[in-house]
Amino acid sequence: MNEILLSSEVIVYLLSEALLYLLLFIAAIATLGILKGWNFDRFTKRQFDLENRSYLVMSIIFFVLGLKMLLLPYFAYTIDALSLLVPGAMCAAGVIDANDYGSPLLLLKIIILFLSGLWLGINRLDLEEKHYPYMKLKSWFYLLLFILLSAEIVLDILYFTHIETTNPVSCCSVIFGEIGGNSLPLGLDIPKLLILFYLLYALLVLIVFTGHYLVRIAASLFFAMIAYYSVVYFFGTYIYELPTHRCPFCMMQAEYRYIGYLLWGLLFTGTFLAIESAVMEGIFGRDALKLKKISIGFLTLFVLLCSSYVGLYYLKNGVLL
C-alpha cells in the first residue's frame, strides 16, 4: 500500500465517502421501492408504509447530501495536504494532475454539488406541501444523482490509488503559469477579461430580478467561468503578491489565511443560488426573491473581496502588478 493511502487525511476522506455512499446506496434501493408502489391517492397500508418510509429515506438523503457538500472543501484540503508526499507538487494543483482521474473527479464533484443543491431545493418544496407533489420527481432525480455519486466513488478510489509518490508532477507555476493565446477562453487577454468580469457581474445583478430564467442560468454559469479565470489569472496574483503565481489552489493554504475557501465558497454558493432561484421561479413557479437577494449578496461579496486585494496592493505599494 502506498504512502498516499496511509495518510490520515485520505483515510478520513475515503472512509467518510464510503460510509456516506453506503447510506446513499441503501436510500437508492428504498427509493426504487417507493417509486414502484407510490400512489398518494390510495389509503392502503402499503401507501401509508411508503409515506413513512419516504420520510425516513428523504431525510437520509438530505443529511448525506448536506454532509457531502462539506466534504468538497475537505477534498481540496486533502489533496493540498498530499502535496507534501508527491514530488514536484507545491499545492493541490499538482496533486490533482498527478493522474488522469483527478481533473474529471474534481469536475464531477462540482457538478454533483450543484445537482445536490437542486435536489435539496426540490425536497424543500415538496416538504412545504401537504400531498408530496414532487415525490416522484425528486425520487427520479435522486436516482440520476446516485449514478453520478456511484461514478464519483469509483473515481475517488481510482484517483487515490493511482497517485505515484515516485514520479514528479507539474506544479501550479507550470500548469497555470503560461499566459498565451490558448490559456484564456474566447481569445481574451487580461484587460478584456476584467471588463467582461465586471460587466457580467453588473448584468447579473440586473437580470437576476427581471430576466427570463434560462437567460439567468446561462448568465450565472458564464459569470462563474469568467470569474474562475479572473481569479486564477488576475486577482490571484494580488493574493500571492506575485505576478507569475497563477493558481486556484495555493490560496487555500495557511500562508494565505485559507482565503481560497471563502473566495471559491462565495462564488460557488452565489452562482448556485442564482441558478436555483431561476429554476424555482421558471420551472416550479415559486417566489424566489429571498434566494435572489442572497445570491447577489454572495456574488457581491465575492467581487468586493477579489477587488479589495487589488485595491489594497495599490494603496500599499502605489503600483499594480
Partner: protein
C-alpha cells in the same frame, strides 16, 4: 367536521403485530360532544392520537375541518394541531418547571403574535378555565385539579374548534371530575366539538346532549345516546 373512514392502526410486525384499531368508521358533527368509552386497550386513545395527527393510521382516511389529517406530513401536522386542535391529556403533559401562565403560552410561541397579544389570550384562557388566580405559580406546586385546569387553559388558548380529551378525569377526585364536566359543558355550549376518551362512568350520563360510543378490541361496539 370529523370524518373517519375505514381507519386501521397496527403496531409491530409478524408475531408481534397488534391491531389497535380495526376498520373504524365514524362521523362527528360540528358542535357535537362524543364520548369514546371502553376499557383500557380498546383503542380509544389511539383513535384520539390519530384525530390529533400525533400519529398516522396504517390505513384509512381521517378528515377534520376539510383537512385530510391522516396523510399530513410532520411539518403540517404541527400547524394543524396549533390551529385546529386542543388536547387535554390524562397526565396533563405540563412543563413542571414553568408557571401556569408560561405553560398556557407555549402553544402560541410560534403564532407570530406579539407578546402583549399572547399574554392577553393566555389571560382569557386561564379565566375561562378558572385558573387565573394561580397564573404566576409553578405547575409543580399545583394540585391535580389545578393542573387539570391549567391543561384546559393551554388547550383553549389557540381557540381550537376541536377539543380532544384523553382520560381527563383519571387522576381527579369526584369533585374535580364534576367540575371538569361542568367546564366541558360550557365549552360545548360555546360551539366546540368535543371528543372524550374515557372509562369513567360519570361520562355515561352527562347533564347535556352527548353521544356515547363504546369501543372494544379496536372496534366500535354499540352506539348509545
Amino acid at each position: 367536521m370529523i370524518r373517519i373512514e375505514d381507519v386501521g392502526k397496527r403496531f409491530g410486525e409478524g408475531e408481534n403485530l397488534f391491531e389497535a384499531l380495526k376498520s373504524i368508521t365514524l362521523e362527528v358533527e360540528e358542535g357535537e360532544c362524543v364520548i369514546l368509552s371502553g376499557i383500557s386497550g380498546s383503542g380509544k386513545s389511539t383513535l384520539l392520537s390519530l384525530i390529533a395527527a400525533l400519529d398516522r393510521p396504517s390505513s384509512g382516511k381521517i378528515v377534520v375541518e376539510g383537512e385530510l389529517v391522516s396523510k399530513l406530513p410532520d411539518l403540517h401536522a404541527s400547524a394543524y394541531r396549533a390551529k385546529t386542535i386542543g388536547v387535554i391529556f390524562q397526565h396533563f403533559n405540563l412543563i413542571e418547571s414553568l408557571s401556569v401562565e408560561e405553560n398556557v403560552i407555549v402553544p402560541l410561541i410560534n403564532s407570530g403574535l406579539d407578546m402583549p397579544a399572547i399574554r392577553k389570550m393566555a389571560e382569557q384562557s386561564m379565566q375561562r378555565a378558572s385558573i387565573l388566580h394561580k397564573a404566576s405559580q409553578d405547575v409543580a406546586s399545583l394540585s391535580g385539579g389545578e393542573k387539570q385546569r391549567c391543561a384546559i387553559a393551554r388547550a383553549l388558548v389557540n381557540d381550537p374548534k376541536v377539543i380532544l380529551c384523553d382520560e381527563p378525569t383519571a387522576n381527579l377526585d369526584r369533585e374535580n371530575s364534576l367540575r371538569f364536566i361542568d367546564t366541558i359543558q360550557k365549552l360545548n355550549q360555546a360551539g366546540k366539538t368535543i371528543v372524550i376518551a374515557t372509562h369513567d362512568p360519570l361520562f355515561e350520563a352527562l347533564p347535556f346532549e352527548s353521544r356515547v360510543i363504546h369501543m372494544a378490541d379496536g372496534m366500535i361496539g354499540k352506539h348509545g345516546e
